[in-house]
């Protein structure tokens, strides 16, 4: 890379050398951060994949049951049955710091802990298929909430990894070689200046000797 406009002075040289040390240290740290993030991300994303497959299967099964339930009941009865839910889900969000990425941790609270106490209707006017459907859906709910947590973490970590990787690459391929180039340029220039002064002095000495002794 062509060196662009650096002052070949000792002060500039010291400054650049310091900058190089910082850049190399930063590069090492960021590289470590990237590697660790990547390791954790891969674990998380595998979990994410498994959970997603499980949840999608569960929802599909629940949907089938709901279609059945709907077939054997009138729409009005069905919607009225589900109009006033008994169960209530609230989520407490805290955060966990993983390599400077704040990932959310969901703490789930349900109003009725009893699994059999979620049906918000009397059993007289609804079909048994609806009970099945709701039960199959409530079975996937914990996994769905876990999935939300894991998938969000994956998204956040993915963008952090992307950012870190860019920084590592910028340092490795631009900043560090650039600074090294500049340092080299300045050292060369300073050496050249020194040699030039040396030859000039020698030449002057020769001239003075010639004048004094007539060599």
């Amino acid at each position: 890379m062509a060196t662009t406009q650096v002052n070949p002075t000792r002060m500039e040289l010291t400054r650049l050398k310091k900058k190089l040390v910082t850049a190399i240290r930063g590069h090492k740290l960021l590289k470590d951060k990237r590697d660790e993030l990547m390791r954790q991300f891969l674990d998380l994303v595998r979990e994410n994949k498994e959970l997603r497959e499980k949840v999608e299967k569960g929802i599909e099964r629940a949907n089938k049951n709901f279609v059945l339930a709907r077939a054997s009941m009138s729409e009005e009865v069905l919607y009225t049955a589900l109009l006033a839910p008994k169960q209530d889900v609230s989520i407490e969000v805290s955060e966990k710091n993983v390599m400077s990425v704040d990932i959310p941790v969901f703490d789930i609270k349900t109003r009725t802990p009893d699994k059999n106490d979620i049906f918000s209707y009397g059993f007289a006017f609804t079909s048994a298929d609806l009970d099945d459907a709701i039960e199959s859906l409530s079975d996937v709910l914990p996994d769905m909430l876990k999935l939300a947590e894991v998938e969000k973490s994956c998204q956040l970590m993915a963008s952090e990894i992307e950012k870190t990787r860019r920084r590592v690459n910028a340092l490795e391929h631009v900043m560090i070689p650039d600074t090294q180039e500049k340092i080299k340029y300045i050292t060369m220039k300073l050496d050249e200046n020194e040699r030039s002064t040396q030859t000039r002095l020698m030449k002057v000495k020769d001239m003075m000797l010639k004048e004094a002794h007539g060599y």
Binding site: M38, F41, L42, V45, R46, N48, K49, R52, E53, V55, E56, I59, E60, A62, N63, F66, V67, R70, L78, Y79, L82, L83, P85, K86, Q87, D88, V89, S90, I91, E92, V93, E95, D102, P104, F106, T110, R111, I118, F119, S120, A133, I134, L137, S138, L141, M144, L145, L147, A148, E149, E151, K152, C154, Q155, L156, M157, A158, S159, I161, E162
Partner: protein, 105 residues
Amino acid sequence: MYRAAVIGDRDSIYGFAALGLDVNIIEHGEDPAPVFKRLCEGEYAVIYVTEALASELAPKIEHYQEQKTPAIILIPGVTGNTGEGINAVKKSVEKAVGSDIIFNT
């Protein structure tokens, strides 16, 4: 205290009401954007979006991806699984690693 919400067409999501999630039904042809915006700005930690609706809301969903809450999660609707949800996971792997190393096996 946060809550969880579901947004989608009636047939895909009405069952979630029984579980205590907030159900937001988008009728066919209705614009989901204002409802979605209200949910995102409200006290919701998780918003489940049906895959069919997600394609309409794609740019908005992307916008919320970098924020801590809400977590926007795609779920298959009653019309079947379009693979959008797993695609989103693939995309984040591609973003982080550079190429898909988890799902191509």
